[in-house]
């Protein structure tokens, strides 16, 4: 795999390395040579959008896999099933004889679930492929991207009123993760969600050190941090209970808004919070664990004395690197006289660990799939090579997909198999579906029209029509998006 990254005039760092890593993980090649070059060019500035490197790598390889399967007479899902990662799948180059590996991968299951729900075999078997000028084709694509980081802080306060206030430093992208990840903490403490508040918005609100909102890491990183803070709070509750009610801390349990000894004494969280204020020190935030970030320490200092304050760094172990996976399925209908095509159906089947919030997850999986679909069906970025100036400045020129460019009933599903290397089992999902959205459309087009018709994205009416006319690809694959 030889990747040349045209990075415009400024940014010397390209995404070519990421494309190599993702491809080596997603298709588990037994041997792979990779080379990446970043070139600075005197062209308009650009920057990564979503799934940088991963999108490109997968979209390069997927049509090749599809073609190989056709040549071999192997089913498209089957060939991917054979080659896709499983469990602690290795990726990237060997360093000192050892290769890195993923925390987990259940992509085979995702493929199976997707194929079943999409009725893959039925669609493949359906005849005829062509009616009049219309041809249908189905495509499947694997997709993955990094799905989480570790080492951030959680912070919560149990108030004397018995409410649990989660301090959330997550930037809200509208994915709800700013709120959702704290459910992990509420669950640990056994507090109904209605008794919880989430404080978020800006740094004046005394928020803990948090990952940036990007890189599909939030769900993974911050469920861990929320879990850690809740475990810290639980520990403190047990200690307070032991202090006040006697016995050893480990004899106490936390649940139903109480801390209690089985069949014995108990107190409410509200009471425990009041005691925490009385006790001071580590209990109400006047003392902070040494390993939390200085920003978290400052926030804790500001919150001290308001109740039981628990701050903790995510120190949970993780064996491997975290990735999330998607198997994407698409069917297209192409009019061979005009080159115009429609996406008939689309399904994304996700392996993202534990599902935290199904509706938000669905929005993410289909939303980012649509971003990828946009790259397949028309989104482009045109500049005049003589002047190096953008000409596609308007939406009708650079063509982000509209609601009518995707099926009105898109489907998604998720496995809900926890990742073993994180306490809550949840991984991030933002970027993993992007490449699948793009490549499944390209593969469906190849299925409808043949492998040799187009060799680049976006595929528009013009690409298809010129090539069908000539019987071979007419646009150079490396030619700018036009």
């Amino acid at each position: 795999m030889f990747v040349i990254c045209d990075n415009g005039p400024y940014d010397a760092v390209g995404d070519s390395a990421s494309s190599g890593r993702i491809v080596s993980l997603l298709y588990q090649p037994q041997a792979m040579r990779w080379r990446g070059v970043t070139v600075l060019t005197n062209t308009p500035p650009r920057s990564a959008q979503s799934s940088p490197g991963g999108l490109q790598g997968i979209v390069i390889i997927e049509p090749i896999i599809a073609k190989a399967a056709r040549k071999l007479g192997v089913d498209q899902v089957a060939i991917r099933r054979v080659n896709c990662p499983e469990g602690k799948a290795p990726f990237g180059p060997a360093v000192q004889g050892k290769r890195q590996y993923a925390t987990s991968a259940f992509l085979k299951e995702a493929l199976d679930r997707g194929a079943e729900q999409f009725k893959w075999s039925e669609r493949v078997a359906r005849t005829p492929k062509r009616i009049g000028t219309k041809v249908r084709g189905v495509g499947v694509s694997l997709s993955c991207y990094v799905g989480g980081t570790i080492g951030f802080d959680g912070l919560l306060v149990i108030t004397p009123e018995g409410r649990v206030i989660f301090q959330s430093g997550i930037g809200n992208l509208g994915t709800e993760s700013v709120i959702d990840v704290h459910r992990a903490g509420a669950e640990v403490l056994g507090v109904p969600w209605e008794k919880c508040d989430v404080v978020w918005g800006n740094t004046t609100k005394n928020l803990p050190f948090t990952c940036v909102s990007g890189g599909s890491q939030t769900t993974h990183a911050m469920t861990r941090a929320a879990h850690a803070a809740a475990m810290e709070a639980k520990k403190k509750l047990q200690e307070i209970a032991a202090k006040k009610l006697g016995g050893k801390p480990e004899q106490y349990e936390v649940g139903n808004e109480r801390v209690f000894r089985k069949g014995g004494a108990s107190m409410t969280l509200a009471q425990a919070a009041k005691y925490a204020i009385q006790l001071g020190g580590i209990y109400d935030g006047h003392e902070v664990p040494a390993d939390v970030h200085k920003l978290t320490k400052a926030s804790v200092a500001a919150l001290a004395g308001q109740g039981l304050v628990a701050a903790a760094k995510d120190n949970y172990p993780r064996d491997g690197s975290t990735f999330s996976y998607v198997a994407s399925f698409a069917e297209v209908e192409v009019d061979v006289e005009t080159g115009k095509y429609y996406i008939v159906d689309f399904l994304a089947s996700a392996d993202v660990g534990t599902v935290i919030h199904p509706r938000a997850l669905g929005g993410q999986v289909l939303g980012r799939s649509t971003l990828g679909i946009g790259h397949a069906i028309g989104q482009k970025w045109v500049f005049d090579p003589h002047y190096g100036q953008m000409v596609s400045k308007r939406f009708y020129q650079n063509k982000p997909p509209t609601i009518l460019d995707v099926p009105v009933d898109m489907q998604w599903t998720a496995l809900d198999i926890p990742d073993p290397e994180t306490p809550v089992g949840a991984r991030g999902v933002g970027e993993p579906p992007v490449a699948g959205g793009c490549a499944s459309i390209l593969n469906a087009l190849s299925d409808a029209l043949g492998d040799e018709i187009f060799q680049r994205a976006p595929v528009n009416a013009d690409t298809i029509l010129t090539s069908l006319e000539a019987g071979r690809p007419m646009q150079h694959p490396l030619m700018a998006h036009i």
Binding site: R359, G367, G374, V408
Partner: protein, 216 residues
């Protein structure tokens, strides 16, 4: 050149306010950025043309969300600007400002328009409805808004006011649409989170809510 700059910026010297500095001042004061362009762009031929056909006053009354609002609007001002920057109705978003993204969609006499591409002066005497005017006075959300809450329709939701207004407008002509029909109806709006599927689901719920509330 340098001398002139010094002259304008040095203290104590009587200030010959240059046009650039004046505009800067206006911008920093944050009040009437818009009037700068009125004062200093091509001097408009108002003098002696008051009686000319069709020429209007700047001070106009608009019917926005059922209220009569007096507003001083420039001739070249768009409705989106007036709503946001003169009337404080920032629920109407300005995305592309080129009639492409739909985030500025408002209803004018019950019809969805891109407010970024309507001159404020052309809506005199017409009823403008923005997202702020949808909910009841008592705070009860419009059924379509409620549908969005019910189904968590949007992600970043910058496009949401536009989508909701487009939906409310479309449902006036077709209260019981199919998913396909509603998608057509709101196809003039873009969502860059690309959450179209969930948006459509929530707006379908909104349509259902609306039919139910009309029935009841």
């Amino acid at each position: 050149m340098a001398d002139k700059t010094d002259f304008n910026t040095s203290e104590g010297v009587p200030k010959a306010v240059s046009r650039r500095n004046f505009i800067k001042g206006v911008i920093t004061s944050g009040v009437a950025v818009s009037s700068a362009s009125y004062l200093f762009r091509a001097s408009t031929p108002l003098n002696g043309q008051q009686s000319a056909v069709g020429v209007g006053e700047r001070l106009i009354t608009l019917n926005v969300n059922g209220q009569q609002r007096r507003v001083d609007a420039m001739k070249q001002e768009t409705l989106a600007s007036t709503l946001r920057y003169k009337l404080g109705l920032t629920g109407t978003k300005l995305g592309c400002d080129r009639a492409e993204c739909g985030s500025c969609t408002v209803l004018i006499d019950d019809i969805p328009y891109y407010a970024c591409s309507v001159l404020t002066h052309t809506v005199r005497g017409r009823k403008v409805l923005t997202i702020e005017g949808l909910a009841n006075r008592d705070g009860t959300l419009h059924p379509v808004q409620q549908g969005v809450i019910d189904e968590q329709g949007f992600q970043c939701a910058f496009c949401m006011p536009g989508f909701i207004m487009a939906t409310v407008g479309f449902l006036k002509t077709k209260p019981n649409p199919t998913r396909q029909e509603l998608a057509q109806g709101i196809s003039g709006n873009l969502c860059r989170c690309q959450d179209y599927d969930k948006i459509l689901t929530s707006l379908m719920r909104g349509a259902e809510n609306l039919r139910r509330s009309n029935r009841g």
